[in-house]
Amino acid sequence: MSDQLAIQAQQRRSSRMQTIYRPLILAALALLVLVAGRLVSESLPSWIAVQTVLSLSMFLSVVAFGQGLVMLTGGLDLSVPGVIALSASIVAVWVSFMDGNLFVGVLLALGVSLLFGIVNGVLVSVLKAPAFIVTLAMGAVLEGFSLFITYGHKAPESPELLVTLFSGSGKLFGIGIPALLFFVVGIIGFIIQARSRFGRNAYLLGSSLEASRIAGQPVNFIQISMYAVSGFGAGLAGLMLVGFSGNAQLSLGTEWLMPSIAAVLVGGTVIGSGRGFWQATITAGLMLTSITIVIQSTGVPQGWKSVLYGVVVLVALLSTRSDFGRRRRKQISQSPLQGNPPKK
């Protein structure tokens, strides 16, 4: 009987490891990185740096949410930069060149992003095309569209409201709005991924597509909806970034693809597995963003910064991966749960 209790305790420990300790460790690491930033820059750590990390992580989280769901179900969304650029271009062109209503522009941009997300999903789930290629190609197409609608103009100015909301100039309780939104995004994401039927469907599909199908789950619909959310999230991020950066450049989205995938993976999500937690994804995002901030504060040339960042991401990935891989395997092979409960 004490065995049973020990097993239960072990199981609880390992699940807490994933849901509570891992996010805490990642958040602590993020803070530690900022403090250690002192070594490279006098201006670190600072309240402003913390706010910047939170703001940038918020944008990252909005992208990484859909990305994480898609990856959970065994796919990958590489069209993120294209969707961000298109959404940004749509709203900026609509408002500053066509004098359209901002609200309509926002709906338009989000609607188009959602639509292309759905197209990605249909191509992957119904036509069984590899997600990697489909979304990569879709990204190229969308960047082309963005170029099209902004063609011949200088980068369009951002709508003022978006600038106020997302550039950090607007404040609530003395804290920049994007930094506050980080927590809002965190909570909403948690509710959807961990507590909703929608999130549950993603876990089920990721854990086993065949079992989902035989259990009567609408697998195509589920898979498409994950890509739709990813498209919608990228579109939303596009709107925010228009406000954040002050104008709509085509390159707006490019720097968010790798961090979105890295945050999901460093957070411990295993592609196509039904294994992964939102709270770990966003805290991994915090850590990666802190690292970016610190690297940006160094005086090294831009090329080296890029190299440095890439290497750091690789190391972060490999260290979490191999560690967890080993522990898991060991647990499985030694797990007393493999056998049957002693019958008395």
Binding site: Q4, Q8, Q11, I191, R195, S196, R197, F198, R200, N201, Y203, L204, G206, S207, S208, E210, A211, S212, R213, I214, A215, G216, Q217, P218, S273, G274, R275, I332, S335, L337, Q338, G339, N340, P341, K343
Partner: protein, 508 residues
């Protein structure tokens, strides 16, 4: 001393034992038969000898030398060549490339297409298969041609130890094979011949071994034996299980919940008629690959149906996917064959595994209410005899039996009254089996119509109200009540229908 000496082979797959201290000894110039039920360990033994599987313990000696196990190359260089039951050809290569894959003729490192084709044509001619074009893709060949190619490839190495695993499953002319097998024996090869077809064994083999549950249970003399004796040893008399008692006979006016007429799935199920009444457990028997899987998957919407009519509670219904099947009339639920891949969600907890069909009901504004979810899963788990302390654990870490119970609990929660149980007791421990039987019987007593396939014939005999036997995609025999016996089922399953009195195929 014999050419082939195998001793003490033991191999576990998880909880289930595939080989249990098995040993055989065969001399040169002998054709030796190995018989046994599905899952008796024959194929595992073949795989050990060919180096495809490393046993947990045991030893293989060839000509007195101990063979390093688990390395295919070592087995081949020791002269062991195998024609596998599931065939080992590469579908995207040509006939010629498949034949010569081990030693493709090259010119300065580059494979010469013409030389490959030429050599292959020569080999095919030598073995009397000159009607096969060496340039064809193997994937496009009919099964019979593939089987022949597999055999030619194996024979052409002039093996010292020739292993043939169900070589005639798809082969139309056995004479061709027998001629070459006898020739191999005459030049001193040791031949292991594995087959379900006892008539062939009587024609070809000189000695034989019977396997059951991974053990060697006896030898027999193929030239002089009674089919009944062998079949009895194969299925074993010692197995006595406590099956839940059958309810009184199913009333003739009990509604027919599931009826299939001239049901077809590709070329694997070729016109099967069956019906299952409320409260009835109908067994399906058959050797491996006679269309049982396709029958179940077709009825459950998991494989595309190509012909026939399915009536669910009297209404003709098209079951194009499992979701529609679940929603059809009283509902059709499938418990699939491959538990790990198709049955469970290994990374998720038992609660999550069980609650899937009830998620909609359990949600409020799209959010799953966790308390009621746990409670519901606990109740469903209890009905399926699942220990409560496992509910919070990842299903992938539980034993096969408990995994299956989580699948059954989920199936019960669907509320479906037509249950298609494909080998639900495969690879689970005996006590879990008993609990599965009792779950099935309870479901039937509560008004479900159960179609139940098992590779273990005693289970069918012990549990079912009626048993249908499949052979080559058809239902060739049907037994009811007292007439359900292991012998009768086995005879019908090997295609020996003369003893099967009620041949359903004749009715249609």
């Amino acid at each position: 001393m014999n050419v082939l000496e195998v001793s003490g082979l033991t191999k576990y797959y998880g909880d289930s034992v595939a080989l249990d201290n098995a040993g055989i000894s065969v001399g040169a110039g002998v054709i030796h038969a190995i018989v046994g039920e599905n899952g008796a360990g024959k194929s595992t033994m073949v795989k050990v000898l060919s180096g495809m599987v490393t046993p947990d313990s045991g030893e293989v000696k060839i000509d007195g030398t101990v063979l390093e196990l688990g390395v295919p190359k070592v087995s081949r260089s020791a002269g062991v060549f195998t024609a596998f039951q599931e065939l080992s050809l590469l579908p995207n290569l040509t006939v010629a490339e498949n034949l010569l894959i081990a030693e493709l003729p090259t010119r300065s490192g580059v494979v010469s297409r013409r030389a490959v084709q030429g050599q292959a044509a020569k080999i095919l001619k030598e073995w009397g298969v000159d009607d096969l074009d060496p340039g064809l893709m193997v994937g496009q060949l009919p099964l019979s041609a593939k089987q022949r190619l597999e055999l030619v490839r194996t024979l052409s190495h002039n093996p010292k130890i020739l292993i043939l695993d169900e070589p005639t499953a798809a082969l139309p002319d056995t004479d061709w094979l027998f001629r070459h097998v006898r020739a191999a024996r005459d030049r001193g090869a040791c031949v292991l011949y594995i087959s379900h077809k006892l008539a062939e064994i009587g024609q070809l083999c000189e000695s034989g071994t019977i396997m059951r549950n991974g053990k060697i249970v006896g030898d027999f003399n193929p030239t002089n034996f009674s089919h009944d004796e062998i079949i009895s040893s194969m299925i074993g008399r010692s197995i006595s299980m406590a099956f839940p008692p059958r309810v009184t006979a199913i009333p003739a006016d009990a509604p027919i919940l599931l009826k299939a007429i001239d049901f077809e799935v590709g070329n694997r199920v070729r016109g099967v008629d069956l019906q299952v009444r409320e409260g009835e457990i109908v067994g399906v028997a058959g050797l491996e690959g006679q269309g049982q899987r396709e029958l179940f998957y077709g009825l459950g919407g998991a494989s595309p149906v190509t012909g026939g009519i399915v009536e669910v509670a009297g209404t003709a219904t098209k079951v194009s996917n499992p979701r529609k099947a679940l929603k059809a009339g009283p509902g059709i639920a499938l418990v699939p064959e491959e538990r790990k891949r198709e049955g469970i969600f290994a990374d998720l907890t038992s609660v999550t595994n069980i609650s899937v069909p009830a998620l909609k009901k359990l949600s409020f504004a799209g959010i799953i209410r966790r308390g009621p979810e746990r409670k519901l899963a606990m109740e469903a788990g209890r009905d399926a005899h699942m220990p409560e302390e496992y509910l919070g654990r990842d299903v992938g870490r539980l034993s096969g039996g408990n995994q299956q119970k989580s699948v059954l609990a989920r199936t019960n929660l669907t509320g479906a009254k037509i249950l298609l149980m494909f080998d639900p007791t495969r690879g689970i421990d005996p006590s879990a089996k008993l609990e599965v039987y009792s779950t099935l019987r309870t479901s039937a007593a509560n008004g479900a119509a159960v179609l139940f396939y098992s590779t273990e014939i005693p289970e069918l005999v012990g549990l079912c109200d009626r048993v249908i036997v499949m052979y080559h995609g058809r239902a060739v025999a049907e037994f009811e009540g007292e007439r359900i016996t292991e012998d009768a089922i086995m005879q019908a399953a090997v295609g020996n229908t003369s003893s099967a009195t009620a041949a359903q195929g004749d009715k249609s």
